[in-house]
């Protein structure tokens, strides 16, 4: 079940081959949904679900898909899954689905999903493809959560909507940093994480 190769498919994307930090994919959505933790986590789970199952489906179909139209077939699969996720969200977590607005729909265009389908699912069996999907989705979610943690903490003084910075700090002149809520700071936070990650992984450093 978890041979060495499968383990790599599952665990490599968490750090060494992280879709955001190393492949620099999915930046757009990670800037848009990370102003607070809740939407970031929901977004992460949605991407894990879509990525894992589209990987499996495409992997089953990989020998029957004509090469010329493979992108369209992949898109149809992704779109179908995204619509399912979207409807589930609207049904069970309406507030968050409002917050995420178009970004759930835009999972269709998330480069990570297309990238994994092309690079992995088209050449591998369903089980490794599933693990690869879960791994990449998790790698994406971890970064989203880290970015959202700093942005929500410094930008709103809350975590999951609960006040964590005590009132006496505000009484003594502390103020929430409004810039953290704006997308530019998400990019800079992401940049810092990439900076830290490269500094600790020598083999990733380019000249």
């Amino acid at each position: 079940m978890l041979s060495k190769k499968n383990k790599e498919a599952l665990f490599n994307p968490l750090s060494k081959d992280n879709p955001i930090l190393v492949q620099i994919l999915g930046i757009c959505s990670s800037l848009a949904v990370t102003a607070s933790l809740e939407p970031a986590i929901v977004m992460g789970i949605s991407v894990i679900a879509v990525l894992a199952f589209s990987n499996v489906i495409i992997s089953f179909l990989r020998k029957t898909i004509p090469t010329n139209i493979r992108i369209i077939v992949q898109l149809v699969v992704i779109a179908a899954l995204v619509i399912i996720v979207q409807q589930i969200l609207v049904a069970y977590n309406y507030d968050v689905s409002k917050k995420l607005s178009v970004f759930i729909g835009l999972i269709i265009t998330n480069c990570i999903i297309m990238g994994r389908l092309e690079a992995f699912a088209m050449h591998n069996r369903p089980w490794p493809s599933f693990l690869d999907g879960v791994g990449n989705g998790l790698g994406y979610t971890i970064i989203l959560v880290i970015v959202a943690f700093f942005r929500e903490l410094l930008g709103s003084g809350t975590l999951f909507g609960f006040k964590v910075i005590p009132q006496w700090c505000y009484d003594h002149g502390y103020m929430d940093n409004g810039l953290m809520i704006l997308p530019p700071m998400a990019l800079i936070t992401l940049g810092c994480i990439i900076w830290y990650h490269r500094a600790h992984n020598k083999e990733l450093q380019e000249d």
Binding site: G173, M175, N177, L179, M180
Partner: protein, 402 residues
């Protein structure tokens, strides 16, 4: 002097490789070249020898900022004593109050900025660069006096790390570091950067001054008042509600960030920068021309919806940070355009954008900071276009001759 030289010579070995404090070598080098002119000159290749190194350039800019700094201090005191109803205080009392109010900001700006530069130089085993000398004095001049010190410290740290060190240190930055500091404060803590409470210091400064504010006090800057003006007539007042004229703004008796209020002090600094050839007159003049042109255009089509269009062009230039930005920020040789034609375009667009933002964007009463930062981003592109069009023109000329 000689004793100092001897002392420096004595402690030198411990900073060189192998010495006890070898890690702090660049600190020693920085201090030594700060105190004494270095003897080392290059012996080979073609070099133009000029006494004007980076340290002297930076010091000249700092000297040029002194009139604005001194007047800024006086004006802080003047506004303070006016607000508490003690406008008969002597000028020295007012200046001293301003000095005490600004001193902590200057200290914080230098300690944080230089601290990060020193640490960064030690980590990278590089020489300490003197670029922060100017930035450190610019920051207190463009940050409202009531900004809490910790905010200034956070913003300075952010700007030095993310606008300068990340790009490779002094001379490599894309954006003006002092303006990034202000922009950070402006977007992170908007409530402390504009409105009634930002620009006039009301409480005591290091134990001096303080008192009850008299009735009728409003702390909004003239541009802030213009932005919220209603109707076809402009009503600009000083902090006591008395009407003010363009002359007040020219001399500088208006609330605002410390360095930006007095046109006279800024022009003194500009004269020094132009006489010594440190700032580009092309940029400086074209900023004013661009601003004047755009202000005249806006004034030709006045509208109550955009109250700033009711200002006449000359007042427009005297208010807010326009002049300060044009003289000290736009002319930054690192972030500005370098080709001659490029400098005209760069300056002109800064002037135009600054007034454009001021007049037609009701969210921002002042547009100079954003205009300069925007054009900082485009300066390399402008230079590239100028250079490549020059190459093309000469290539064409060469082709015809054949």
């Amino acid at each position: 002097m000689k004793a100092l030289r001897n002392f420096m010579n004595k402690i030198e070995p411990s900073f060189r490789p192998g010495g006890k404090l070898a890690k702090l070598e660049s600190v020693y080098d920085g201090m030594e070249t700060f105190l004494f002119t270095p003897n080392a000159t290059s012996r080979s290749g073609a070099h133009i020898h000029d006494g004007n190194d980076m340290k002297r350039t930076m010091i000249t800019v700092v000297v040029a900022l002194i009139p604005a700094l001194l007047f800024g201090m006086y004006n802080i005191g003047y506004q303070h004593y006016l607000a508490i109803g003690h406008s008969h205080e002597g000028w020295f009392t007012m200046w001293l109050y301003g000095l005490l109010a600004m001193l902590p900001v200057i200290v914080v700006s230098y300690v944080v900025g230089l601290g990060i530069e020193f640490i960064s130089a030690q980590i990278h085993h590089k020489e300490i660069q003197e670029g922060f000398l100017v930035t450190g004095i610019l920051i207190p001049l463009i940050v409202p006096i009531n900004t809490p010190l910790w905010m200034t410290a956070v913003a300075t740290a952010f700007a030095v790390i993310f606008a300068k060190e990340v790009f490779g240190g002094t001379g490599m930055n894309i954006f003006n570091v002092a303006l990034i500091t202000r922009a950070f404060l402006f977007f992170a803590y908007p409530s402390r950067m504009s409105g009634d409470e930002a620009f006039v210091k009301l409480d005591s400064a290091l134990g001096m001054g303080g008192g009850t504010v008299v009735d009728g006090f409003t702390g909004a800057t003239p541009l802030g008042q213009v932005a919220t003006n209603v109707g076809d007539q402009l009503h600009m007042t000083n902090i006591m509600g008395e009407p003010i004229s363009c002359l007040d703004a020219f001399i500088g008796f208006i609330p605002g960030s410390p360095g930006e209020t007095s046109m006279i002090a800024i022009l003194l600094g500009a004269a020094l920068l132009l006489l010594t050839g440190i700032a580009s007159w092309r940029i400086m003049c074209s900023v004013f021309v661009g601003g004047l042109g755009m202000a005249a255009l806006a004034h030709a089509l006045p509208s109550a919806t955009y109250p700033a269009s009711l200002l006449d062009p000359w007042t427009q230039l005297c208010l807010g940070g326009f002049a300060f930005g044009a003289v000290f920020m736009a002319t930054d040789p690192v972030t500005g355009a370098r080709t001659k034609i490029g400098q005209y375009i760069y300056g002109l667009l800064i002037g135009v954008f600054a007034i454009l933002i001021r007049v037609y964007n009701s969210g921002y009463p002042e547009g100079m900071m954003l205009a300069i930062l925007l054009m900082n981003a485009f300066a390399p592109l402008i230079d590239h276009c100028v250079v490549s069009s020059n190459i093309k023109r000469r290539a064409r000329r060469a082709a015809i001759k054949e």
